[in-house]
């Protein structure tokens, strides 16, 4: 207890705490309810962690978690975070040789984790709850004080035709792009797995769109879809057809010659939106191909050889070996695709900045963007975000229940 480093510890920590408190106090004095709330949150979480750490790992654990709590504040005050980190490291260098094994693990475990933990808490965990919180207010803004209205935003949302439009568009987007992407991806992957020559070249080209920025890709496709000078109209011999400004639903168009008029949701996605979907499938296909090809290559060759000896046809090989053994990969792609499809924004925003004719290409994320950042209605936009979260959650769980039964995990 008389070693100098034991005096170093409280001194450094004391300075850290004082600096942190001073900074927070000044912030409070200026105002800014968000930082005050944050500071409180950090302090509480820090205390909880500290208690937990101290009980299990003694002083080093305590120091680390206090450092973590300070570091959280340090995200708000960057120099302070550096200071805390430096103090923690210095302290440890003094104490290292005398630490028992579990204490070392506790110290270094927390030391490695806390920068990420701090950032995740501040920029992921806290905002998730904050989104719900602000959705309970009437138009949260930077200027005026807003009123607590409970679930009013959700009530309005449920009766908001534009939201339903956006949701049904997004639904069609998922239904069209995810299976198409997986089907085409599987087809290409199976063909590429047939010991073709120039495999690398094919794979390179199929993969190229995926790494291309969507903004640039959307610009190119806009040019291809151009009504007057577009390549597609030349190819199809339909001069003047305005792909991106045709709001008619494709089912409605397909059934109109038979005298059947479909309206609303059942008219299906508009021609414009299908054009955007085609571009999206083009963009994502390479990813599916690469993932599926890796999945195929991990299937043992012996399965195929054994089946071939038994006289299986090529189709049977694919149907009864490749497809079932690929199902975990397919399942993974379905989930990833679903989540990605619900967040589709860039290509829609670039190709139809206003959400298309009659909002026929409005997606949920775009509606959220419009509400939040065009109309500055953060509360309503947050309500959309929360609903989207639950929809994705529900769909993922549903997919898990329905599809996972059919997933065959190999071996």
């Amino acid at each position: 207890m008389k070693k100098p480093e034991h005096l170093l510890a409280p001194a450094l920590l004391g300075t850290g705490v004082l600096a942190f408190l001073a900074a927070e106090a000044s912030r409070l004095a200026i105002g800014g309810w968000a930082s005050a709330a944050l500071a409180l949150l950090f302090a509480l979480s820090g205390l909880a962690l500290a208690g937990y750490g101290a009980r299990r790992a003694g002083i080093p654990g305590l120091l680390t978690v206090v450092a973590a709590a300070l570091g959280l504040g340090g995200v708000l005050h960057a120099p302070l975070a550096l200071f805390t980190l430096a103090a923690g490291v210095l302290l440890y260098l003094g104490l290292r040789s005398r630490l028992p094994e579990p204490a070392q693990a506790a110290f270094w475990g927390w030391a490695f984790v806390w920068p990420s933990l701090a950032l995740v808490l501040v920029w992921h965990v806290f905002p998730s709850f904050f989104a719900f919180y602000i959705s309970l207010f009437d138009r949260v803004s930077f200027i005026a004080k807003s009123r607590f209205v409970g679930l009013l935003n959700y009530e309005i949302l449920m009766r908001d035709p534009l939201f339903w439009k956006a949701l049904s568009n997004t639904f069609w987007y998922v239904v069209f792009t995810v299976p198409t992407g997986i089907f085409l991806g599987t087809l290409v992957a199976i063909l590429l797995n047939e010991r073709v020559r120039f495999l690398g070249l094919f794979r390179t080209i199929y993969f190229l769109p995926y790494i291309t920025a969507l903004t640039a890709a959307a610009a190119v496709w806009m040019w291809i879809y151009h009504p007057e000078f577009g390549f597609l109209n030349w190819l199809l011999g339909t001069p003047g057809f305005d792909w991106l400004h045709t709001p008619d639903g494709i089912f409605a168009l397909a059934l109109r010659p038979f005298g059947i008029e479909l309206q609303g949701f059942f008219a299906g996605p508009s021609v414009a939106f299908v054009a955007i979907m085609a571009m999206s499938v083009w963009h994502l296909l390479g990813y599916n191909v690469v993932i599926l090809l890796a999945g195929l290559q991990s299937i043992p060759r012996q399965y195929y050889e054994a089946a071939m000896i038994d006289g299986a046809t090529w189709w049977q090989l694919q149907r009864y070996i490749s497809w079932p053994l690929l199902s975990p990969t397919t399942f993974f792609l379905a989930i990833i695709g679903l989540i990605g499809a619900f967040q589709v924004f860039t290509q829609v925003y670039v190709m139809t900045p206003t959400g298309g004719v009659l909002n026929d290409t409005l997606t949920v994320t775009m509606y959220l963007y419009n509400k939040g950042f065009r109309d500055s209605d953060f509360s309503y936009a947050s309500a959309i975000a929360v609903v989207v979260f639950f929809v994705i959650l529900a769909l993922t769980l549903l997919q898990k229940r329905v599809l996972e039964k059919r997933v065959t995990y190999g071996e």
Partner: protein, 406 residues
């Protein structure tokens, strides 16, 4: 014999499908590149122009000579005192053509069009035009319009015109730059797009943003992943669960709260806003955790017995063995940061803080109908990634493939 035939047919079918797919996948890239070297009139042809004039070698020779006369051989220009000589071969004897340097639309005065002395002379086999810069300024471009009587059945300009229009009894031949130089000719749209918007600044912002995210993100994920995989610290399961839970929350939910948080911090429209919220990637931490776990535990036990501390184990043993994982995560996070549109669109307002993608998105609105320039800008925007991809193709593809196998 029959089985051999069937095998061959199968192979042909496989290649046919694959090649057809390749054509569809690659066509937009070809079309982007081709359009990016087209003049507006070429881009707006009813039937597609497969090989633009600017890619034809006979035009390159003329462009190089004309550029050398006006300024430099490669980038052209129209320097003070220089004279550019241009020749149109014609057949027959008709009234003389007229030439002028057009004013930019809406310009009241234009030193270039007023300060250029133009001479038109009849020479053997055609007409010679001389453009002399009598001002003391250097110009980047020398736009020229020549009216040629329609009576000339055929005419062969040295450099193919960028546009030919009909104007009464004359053909109106237009050149956006009659003194281009080799690169100035081929890459005309690129140069104009580069000058029309501050692309250099956009690239700077994008590279700083993506680079910082990759480097700091790698560092953070390497440490946290190691702690989760190999350091038995108290509270590990709890924190890990928390990280897992954040993966359930889609990015859309975070947009508004994070925007508000940044606004309260006064960080909007700064590099902080672009970088800080996405520094810690749960995905990266998981990826590297999986990687560390695949390394044999004996390795770490041995090191421990030899007295290695945890940081030594991380930086001397685990990290060097986890390089493929680091590359995977690095590529992912660079792609994500460089290609992102929504987040930079939200948190930046001033042109100085635009990333390439936001700049391009703004450019799409501004470029209007000049699709050549727009495609040139798009090509520039994807070029860094494409170049990186061709340099490190294996790492890209293996990295992405690895991310899918859990």
């Amino acid at each position: 014999m029959a089985s051999k035939l069937r095998y061959l047919l199968g192979r042909v079918l496989i290649y046919a499908v694959l090649i057809a797919g390749t054509v569809v996948m690659a066509f937009p890239f070809y079309w982007m590149l081709a359009t990016s070297v087209k003049s507006p009139q070429e881009a707006q042809q009813a039937a597609p122009v497969w090989v633009p004039e600017r890619l034809k070698p006979q035009n390159w020779r003329a462009a190089t000579r004309l550029g050398a006369e006006g300024g430099s051989r490669f980038w052209g220009g129209f320097l003070p005192g220089r004279t550019v000589h241009f020749f149109i071969r014609t057949e027959g004897d008709e009234p003389p053509p007229r030439a002028r340097v057009p004013k930019p639309p809406g310009a009241f005065r234009d030193p270039l069009s007023e300060g250029t002395r133009i001479q038109v002379e009849r020479v053997e086999g055609g007409w010679r035009f001389s453009f002399t810069n009598t001002t003391d300024q250097a110009f980047r471009l020398l736009p020229v319009v020549i009216y040629l009587p329609k009576g000339y059945g055929t005419y062969y300009p040295e450099l193919a015109p960028d546009a030919v229009r009909s104007a009464g009894d004359y053909w109106r031949l237009e050149w956006v730059n009659l003194s281009p130089g080799l690169f100035g000719y081929v890459f005309h749209n690129y140069r104009e797009a580069w000058n029309a918007a501050p692309f250099a600044r956009y690239f700077y912002v994008s590279f700083v943003t993506a680079g910082t995210q990759v480097l700091v993100g790698l560092f953070l994920a390497a440490m946290a992943g190691f702690a989760f995989a190999r350091v038995p610290f108290p509270g590990r399961e709890l924190v890990f669960l928390l990280f897992l839970a954040t993966m359930m929350v889609p990015g859309e939910v975070l947009l508004i709260p994070n925007y508000i948080l940044l606004a309260k911090l006064g960080w909007l429209d700064t590099f902080y806003a672009l970088i800080v919220p996405w520094l810690a990637s749960v995905f990266g931490i998981f990826l590297l955790r999986q990687f560390y776990r695949s390394l044999p535990q004996d390795l770490f036990d041995a090191a421990r017995i030899d007295g290695a501390s945890y940081p030594v184990m991380l930086f001397k043993i685990a990290l060097p063995l986890a390089v493929p994982g680091l590359i995977t995560y690095g590529i992912f996070s660079f792609l994500g940061a460089y290609n992102a549109l929504l987040w930079p669109l939200i948190v930046t307002q001033s042109p100085e803080m635009r990333t390439v993608q936001v700049g391009l998105q703004a450019f799409i609105g501004e470029a209007g109908s000049d699709y050549g320039q727009l495609m040139a800008a798009s090509t520039m925007a994807i070029l860094p990634i494409i170049v990186g991809y061709f340099l490190a193709q294996r790492q890209f593809i293996e990295g992405i493939a690895r991310s899918g196998i859990k």
